[in-house]
């Protein structure tokens, strides 16, 4: 088992930790979770695009996704979400973060995120992401602890009961260096 772990590290370290000048988002699944006493809803988007540029041992990452690409399984609900989050006025969710290059080789990385959404900007410090490297690509999984109040979103109600303030966003991304 220890040997397997050592082999994995030997393989993954050069891949994940290599000083690539740029990284490009290959595949992504972003999903927000909305909770109500009578509803549990997940809205999923695969339309995110991202790029990372490294310089002086640090990498700046930018990830953006159109708000209207989130699909919760019901058109009516998605249009209501678009209205509530001012998604036509501010059509993009933009996430910026800066990571130290060596962080790419760790199994868990902690990122300080700047998220622009619904015309507001929120900062999330020390958000953990699980990182695995394979086949020259890096797979990153984590959850951004977003809330409606962070973005001044009026919580929608169903039968006069509003949804929970917490709308965690699960992030599942595959990056590759160029």
């Amino acid at each position: 088992m220890k040997r397997a772990a050592l082999v994995f590290l030997l393989i993954s370290l050069p891949i994940a930790g290599q000083s690539a000048k740029q990284w490009v988002l290959d595949q992504s699944t972003l999903s927000y979770h909305m909770s109500h006493p009578m509803h549990e809803v997940d809205g999923v988007s695969h339309a995110a695009k991202g790029k990372g540029t490294c310089h002086d041992g640090r990498c700046d990452f930018l990830i953006a996704v159109p708000v209207n690409t989130f699909d919760s399984g019901d058109t009516n609900r998605d249009l209501h979400m678009l209205e509530t989050t001012r998604g036509a006025q501010f059509p993009m969710v933009v996430v910026r973060t800066q990571l130290a290059e060596p962080a790419g080789s760790a199994s868990t990385i902690y990122a300080d995120l700047e998220v622009q959404f619904a015309g507001q900007t929120a900062h999330y410090a020390h958000v953990p992401f699980q990182l695995t490297a394979a086949g020259g690509k890096v797979h990153i999984v984590g959850t951004i602890p977003a809330t409606c109040s962070d973005f001044k979103i009026d919580r929608p109600s169903f039968l006069t009961v509003p949804i929970k303030n917490e709308i965690p966003v699960h992030v599942d991304m595959v990056w590759h260096p160029i």
């Binding site: 549990e40 991202g50 930018l62 019901d74 009516n76 059509p91 993009m92």
Partner: protein, 308 residues
């Protein structure tokens, strides 16, 4: 008793007319709001988008700054407004205002440049990726205040549709329950017991109230703005498909009811197509209930998940 039924119908109609008043018509006096938008150096920012959201009703109105950086809203409903200003290359700015204003001073909003805007870039930051590098189309990234206003109007109308739809279930259920009491009882083809006039009047009043409320409910769904380029999927499709059953049913049911009432009043046994009044009403009520359940189906999923 017919007078009582007429009074009941009148009371329900008056109540319905209050419910149906769109929020915007409640605002009797409109007010103006004006101001100017400048950059950090005090220069006018042209083309900035200003969105004013009424904090009480949630209704939004937007405007754009003119070349001199000034903007104005001419017909805002009185109340408190949250103002959000956006412009390319600047961080969004927020402010608050009251209409009519407590001060005659126009709003003055100064925008801060974005940290990665060209003017603010440091040599190291100049290599940071920008939104333009990601390859999104202008259509995807461009703000669309008109669409936002359309979405807001749509939500507003569908909220009324939802509330009225739930209210409609009350007289509808009562009309279904009182239906058998308004029917002549017979044996071997002979009428052995006529319904009382009070039962008939109550049933007619409830049926009338149901029809009025139903038509109002339908209006707010049909007239809600459509969003271009939207392909419908999910529970809303069932909700709309069922309307093709309860919609015609809500026209047919009262028509058959009137025919049945006339036949009973003429001393005849209800016959012909009028005898289908009850059956059509049950199908209509059932499909109406199913349409409500269709858009609430995750309720059952949630309860089922909890039991696991």
């Amino acid at each position: 008793m017919q007078l009582a039924a007429a009074r009941l119908t009148l009371v329900v109609s008056i109540l319905a007319s209050f419910v149906l008043q769109p929020p915007r018509t409640l605002a009797q006096e409109a007010g103006a709001l004006s101001g100017s938008v400048t950059d950090p150096s005090g220069q006018a920012v042209a083309g900035a988008t200003i969105v004013a959201k009424n904090t009480a009703t949630g209704q939004t109105t937007d405007a754009r700054t003119r070349p001199d950086g000034r903007f104005s809203f001419q017909a805002l409903a009185p109340g408190s407004y949250a103002i959000v200003v956006t412009a390319a290359g600047f961080a969004p700015a927020a402010s608050n205002a009251n209409v009519p204003g407590t001060s005659s001073e126009p709003l003055q909003i100064k925008l801060a440049a974005l940290p990665n805007a060209p003017a603010a870039q440091t040599p190291a930051a100049s290599s940071e990726p920008s939104l333009a590098d990601l390859g999104f189309t202008t259509q995807q990234t461009q703000s669309n205040p008109q669409l936002q206003a359309r979405l807001a109007r749509r939500t507003e109308m569908l909220k009324i549709h939802q509330r009225l739809g739930i209210i409609t279930t009350i007289p509808m259920a009562a009309a279904v329950i009182t239906g058998p009491m308004a029917k002549a009882k017979g044996k071997n083809g002979q009428t052995v017991k006529e319904p009382t006039q009070a039962n008939l009047d109550t049933h007619i009043a409830l049926g009338g109230a149901t029809t009025a409320l139903y038509l109002s409910t339908a209006y707010f769904a049909i007239a809600a703005p459509r969003i271009p380029g939207t392909e419908k999927h999910g529970a809303i499709r069932w909700h709309e498909a069922l309307a093709w059953i309860h919609g015609p049913g809500m026209i047919l049911t009262p028509a058959l009811g009137i025919m049945a009432y006339k036949q009973e009043n003429a001393g005849e046994k209800v016959h012909g197509i009028a005898s289908a009044h009850g059956a059509v009403a049950y199908v209509t009520a059932a499909s109406y209930g199913a349409a409500i359940v269709a858009v609430s189906w995750p309720i059952h999923l949630k309860f089922w998940e909890k039991q696991k």
